[in-house]
C-alpha cells in the first residue's frame, strides 16, 4: 500500500492514471458519489445508510411487537420470529448505531480539528463501501434462503452445520466479517487523523470532547474487532471446511465462542456509547452557554471506560458456571466501570448547572439521554450482580436494560446530534416547534415500549420467545409496550418528515445558528469542499468560542504562529478514485463465492482484489491544490 505514495508530491508530473483506470473527476451525479473520497460526502453516506438500516430494523421490531401484543398470537411463525429478532439486533448494533457514530465522526472530526480531510481519504471511502457491502450482504439473506436466526450473539454450537443447516448463519458470519474490515480501517484512519492533522495550536487537551471520545472509540475498535474476526472465521471454517473449533464431540468448547464474542462484545457496547457521550458533550455546553464542566476528568473517565471495557466481558456470562471467583471478579470490574460513567453524568449536570440553558429540540434529546441512560445504568448495576443476573438472565428485564442504554442512551444522543448538526450539514434549520412535538412523541413512545418490559421481565417473561401464555400476568405489560411502538413509530415518521421538509423548505441556518463553541461552526453551512479557506489557528479549548469572544478566553494569543504561511502550497484536495469501491465490490462478491462454495468465483475475486490493491497503490493519492480567493490558480496534480 505504501508503494506509490510519496510524502512530497512529485513536481508537476502529469497524472499517470495508475495504468488501470483513469482517475475519475466527476463532481455531480452518481459517479461522483461512487468515487468520492471527501470525508463530508462519506459522512453523509454513512448517516443515510445507517438510518436506512435503522428503518429496516424498526420494521422488524414493529413486527416483533405486534406478534407479542397479545398471548398466543400467530402473526409470524417461531422460525420467522427468530430471524426477526436476530436481524433486528444485528442491524441495530452493527449496521445502524455504530456506523451512525462513525458517520458523525467522519463528517465532524476533520472539521472540529481544523483539518481538510482524513489522513487516508481513499481508505476512508473503502471503509464506507465495505460497511455498506457487509450490510447489504447480511440483508440479501432474506432473499437467499432465510435470514440468520441464531440471535445477535450467535452462540455455538447453535451455529454448527448440523444444528443450523441453512445459509442464514453463513450470511451472519461472512457479512459481519466484511463489515468488520470497514470498521477497522476507518478506526485506524481516524486515529492517525486525530494524531497528526490537528490545527496549529490544538494540543490534545484542547481537542473537543467529541474528538476525544472518537479517539477512544477508535482504539476500542482496533483492539476489539480482531477477536471477533477470528471467532467468525472459526465458525466459517467449521461450516465450510469441516474444522472442529466448536464441535463438542471432538473436544471443542462452545464456551470459547462466548468468551471470544464477548471479548469483542463488551467493548462494542462502549464503541456504540462513547461517540454518543461525545455528541452530548458538544450539545450540552453549547445550549448551556458554558464550557464543559471538568474537561480533564471527562477525558480521563472516557479513557478509563475504554480501558476497563476490556476487563468486564465475562459479566455477560455469569450464568455459564464460571465459578464464584470469576463471577466476583467480573462483578467488581463491572461496578468499577460504573464509576467513570457516573462521573460523566455529573459533569454534564455540572455543565448545565448555572448555565443559561436553551431548551432547543437538540437539548431536549440530550436531557432525555441523561434521564434514560441513568435508568439503563442503574439496571446495569443491578445486572452486574451475579445473583440478580441468575434470576433475570434471558428475560425481558435484560431486554429493557440494554434498550435503555442503546436506544434511550446512544440513539437519543444521536438524535440530539441530528438536530444539532443538521444546519451544518445542509445549511437549513429543522423546524423547531415541530421538532419539540416529535421529541415528546419519541420520549413517551420509547418509555411506553421499554419501561413495561422491566416488569414483564421480572415476572419471568423470557426473551427470544415467540409468544407467551395467557393468564400469567404478562398481557398488560406487553399490550402497553406494543401500543408504545405506534407512538414511537409516529415520532420516527415525524422526524423523517421534518428532515425532508427542512431539506426542501427549511429556514436558512447561517454558519453558526447555535452560537456554538467548536471549529466546525467556523466553516460555512454546508462546508465548502476544502472545509476552511484559511488554516484555523487554535488558541483555546473551545476554539471557535475563543475566536468569537476573545475576552472570555484564557488561552494564548496565537502569536507563535505569526508569519507561518500554512497554505503556501494551496490546499491539497485528494483525487477521486474507483479503487475503494472496486475493492469493496470484489470483497462483496467474494463473500458470495465463499458462502456458496463457488471457488472459481472466489479466486477470480481474489485476483480482482489483488489487482485493485495494486491499482490503488500505484495510483497514488493524486489530486490537486486549490487556492481559495484565487480561483484561477490550480496546482498541478502529482
Amino acid at each position: 500500500m505504501a508503494i506509490g505514495r510519496r510524502d512530497v508530491p512529485a513536481p508537476a508530473a502529469p497524472d499517470a492514471g495508475g495504468g488501470l483506470l483513469a482517475r475519475p473527476a466527476w463532481t455531480k451525479g452518481i459517479g461522483s458519489w461512487l468515487t468520492t473520497v471527501d470525508h463530508k460526502r462519506l459522512g453523509i453516506l454513512y448517516i443515510l445508510t445507517s438510518f436506512t438500516f435503522m428503518g429496516l430494523a424498526s420494521i422488524e421490531a414493529f413486527i416483533i411487537r405486534l406478534q407479542l401484543a397479545a398471548p398466543g398470537m400467530e402473526l409470524v411463525s417461531p422460525d420467522v420470529y427468530n430471524q426477526l429478532f436476530t436481524m433486528h439486533g444485528v442491524t441495530m448494533i452493527f449496521l445502524a448505531i455504530m456506523p451512525l457514530g462513525t458517520g458523525f465522526a467522519n463528517y465532524f472530526v476533520p472539521l472540529m480539528i481544523g483539518a481538510r480531510d482524513l489522513a487516508f481519504p481513499r481508505l476512508n471511502a473503502f471503509g464506507y463501501w465495505v460497511y455498506a457491502a457487509g450490510g447489504i450482504f447480511v440483508y440479501s439473506s432474506f432473499f437467499l434462503g432465510g435470514a440468520p436466526d441464531v440471535g445477535w450473539f450467535a452462540y455455538a454450537p447453535l451455529t454448527s452445520l448440523s444444528n443450523n443447516p441453512g445459509n442464514g448463519t453463513d450470511f451472519y458470519m461472512i457479512g459481519l466479517l466484511i463489515g468488520g474490515i470497514g470498521s477497522l480501517v476507518t478506526a485506524m484512519n481516524l486515529i492517525v487523523t486525530i494524531f497528526s492533522m490537528r490545527a496549529p495550536g490544538m494540543t490534545m487537551m484542547r481537542m473537543p470532547v467529541f474528538v476525544w471520545m472518537i479517539l477512544v472509540t477508535s482504539f476500542l475498535i482496533v483492539f476489539a474487532f480482531p477477536p471477533l474476526t477470528i471467532a467468525l472465521t472459526q465458525i466459517v471454517f467449521d461450516r465450510t471446511f469441516g474444522t472442529l473449533f466448536y464441535v463438542p464431540e471432538a473436544g471443542g468448547l462452545p464456551i470459547l465462542w462466548q468468551h471470544l464474542f464477548w471479548i469483542f462484545g463488551h467493548p462494542e457496547v462502549y464503541i456504540v456509547i462513547l461517540p454518543a457521550f461525545g455528541v452530548i458533550s458538544e450539545v450540552i455546553p453549547t445550549f448551556s452557554r458554558k464550557p464543559i464542566f471538568g474537561y480533564p476528568v471527562m477525558i480521563l473517565s472516557g479513557i478509563f471506560i475504554g480501558f476497563m471495557g476490556f476487563a468486564v466481558w465475562s459479566h455477560h456470562m455469569f450464568t455459564t458456571g464460571l465459578g464464584p471467583v470469576a463471577n466476583t471478579a467480573f462483578a467488581l470490574t463491572s461496578f468499577v466501570i460504573g464509576v467513570p460513567t457516573g462521573v460523566k453524568i455529573f459533569n454534564w449536570l455540572g455543565t448545565m448547572w448555572g448555565g443559561s440553558v436553551r431548551f432547543t429540540t437538540s437539548m431536549l434529546y440530550a436531557m432525555a439521554f441523561l434521564f434514560m441512560f441513568v435508568i439503563g445504568g442503574i439496571t446495569g448495576i443491578m445486572l452486574a450482580m451475579p445473583p440478580f443476573t441468575a434470576q433475570a438472565t434471558d428475560s425481558y428485564f435484560v431486554v429493557a436494560h440494554f434498550h435503555y442504554v442503546m436506544g434511550g442512551g446512544a440513539l437519543f444522543a444521536f438524535f440530539a446530534g441530528v438536530y444539532y448538526w443538521f444546519p451544518k450539514l445542509t445549511g437549513k434549520l429543522l423546524p423547531e416547534r415541530f421538532g419539540q412535538y416529535t421529541f415528546w412523541a419519541m420520549f413517551v413512545g420509547f418509555n411506553m415500549i421499554f419501561m413495561p418490559q422491566h416488569f414483564a421481565g421480572l415476572m419471568g417473561m423470557p426473551r427470544r420467545t415467540q409468544t407467551y401464555e395467557a393468564g400469567i400476568g404478562l398481557e398488560i405489560w406487553n399490550l402497553v409496550s406494543t401500543a408504545g411502538t405506534f407512538v414511537m413509530g409516529t415520532a420516527l415518521f415525524m422526524l423523517l418528515f421534518s428532515v425532508i421538509y427542512a431539506f426542501r423548505k427549511g429556514q436558512p441556518a447561517g454558519n453558526d445558528p447555535w452560537d456554538a463553541r467548536t471549529l466546525e461552526w467556523a466553516a460555512t453551512s454546508p462546508p465548502q469542499h476544502h472545509n476552511f479557506d484559511e488554516q484555523p489557528i487554535v488558541t483555546d479549548r473551545d476554539a471557535f468560542w475563543a475566536q468569537k469572544y476573545p475576552e472570555l478566553s484564557h488561552g494564548d494569543d496565537g502569536s507563535q504562529w505569526e508569519g507561518v504561511d500554512f497554505d503556501s502550497h494551496g490546499i491539497h484536495m485528494p483525487g477521486q478514485s474507483w479503487y475503494p469501491f472496486l475493492l469493496a465490490l470484489a470483497i462483496f462478491i467474494a463473500g458470495y463465492g465463499l458462502l456458496f462454495e463457488n471457488w472459481p468465483l472466489s479466486i477470480l475475486m481474489l485476483v480482482v482484489l489483488t489487482g485493485a490493491t495494486y491499482g490503488w497503490a500505484f495510483e497514488g493519492v493524486g489530486g490537486h491544490h486549490v487556492h481559495p480567493g484565487d480561483d484561477a490558480a490550480e496546482g498541478a496534480g502529482d
Partner: protein, 210 residues
C-alpha cells in the same frame, strides 16, 4: 539525520497540509495495525493453547512436529529480519543497489520460509494430521496458516517494492515506505518467535506435552 527540520523556529508546512505530528502517517498507521494484529494473533494463539491436549485422537504434536526442521526455518525468518534492517539502512544512505539486493533477499528468505511451511504441511498431511482430523490439526493449521498468509503478503509487498524501485527510481526520501513494510515484516517475525516456542518447543518439554 533527516529529522532535524521541524525543530527550527518556523514550522514547516508540507504540501499535503499542516501536520500536528512530525510522525509520518503511514508509519503511525502501521503501528496501529500492528497493535491490532496483536489481538488478532493473540486470539489464534489463545485458541490453540486452550485446545492444547484436548484432541481425542492422534496424531498429537509430538508425533508430527519436527524441531530441527522448524529451527532451520525459524532461523531463516530471523535472518530475513536482519536483511530487512540493512536494506533500510542502505536506502537511507541512498545506496539503491544494496537496497534492492537486500530487499530482494528478504523476500527470497521469506519465500524459503514459505517453502518450508508448504513442505511441513504436506508432510503432516501424509502423517495423518488434517484440518478436520482432530483439534490439534484444526488449531495448528489455522494458526500457522494465518501466519503463512501474513508472510506471503509480506513477500508480495517486498517484491513489489523492488519492482517499483525500477519503475520510478527510489531515493532516501522513500525510506518511510520501506520502513513501513519492514515493520510489518519484523512483526510477522516476532509472531513466529512466539509460535515457535508455544506451538513447537513446549510440546517437547519432558512431562509438559499434551
Amino acid at each position: 539525520m533527516a529529522a532535524d527540520a521541524p525543530a527550527t523556529a518556523a514550522p514547516s508546512v508540507p504540501a499535503h497540509g499542516w501536520r500536528s505530528s512530525k510522525l509520518p502517517d503511514m508509519k503511525l498507521m502501521m503501528w496501529i495495525f500492528l497493535a491490532s494484529d496483536i489481538m488478532f494473533f493473540g486470539t489464534l494463539i489463545g485458541t490453540y493453547l486452550i485446545y492444547k491436549g484436548r484432541s481425542l485422537t492422534g496424531p498429537y504434536p509430538q508425533d508430527v512436529l519436527d524441531i530441527p526442521l522448524t529451527t532451520v526455518s525459524t532461523f531463516v525468518l530471523l535472518m530475513s529480519s536482519f536483511l530487512m534492517v540493512i536494506a533500510l539502512d542502505a536506502l537511507k544512505r541512498n545506496d539503491i543497489g544494496k537496497f534492492r539486493l537486500w530487499t530482494f533477499g528478504v523476500a527470497f528468505f521469506g519465500a524459503i520460509f514459505l517453502g518450508f511451511q508448504v513442505y511441513e504441511f504436506n508432510h503432516f498431511v501424509d502423517l495423518g494430521l488434517t484440518l478436520q482430523g482432530n483439534l490439534f490439526g484444526t488449531t495448528f493449521y489455522v494458526l500457522t496458516g494465518t501466519h503463512g498468509v501474513h508472510v506471503a503478503i509480506g513477500v508480495l509487498w517486498l517484491l513489489s517494492i523492488v519492482v517499483a524501485s525500477y519503475v520510478r527510481p527510489w531515493t532516501s526520501k522513500d525510506a518511510t515506505n520501506l520502513e513501513v513494510a519492514g515493520l510489518y515484516w519484523h512483526f510477522v517475525d516476532v509472531v513466529w518467535i512466539v509460535i515457535f516456542t508455544l506451538v513447537y518447543l513446549v510440546d517437547f518439554v519432558p512431562g509438559a506435552g499434551g
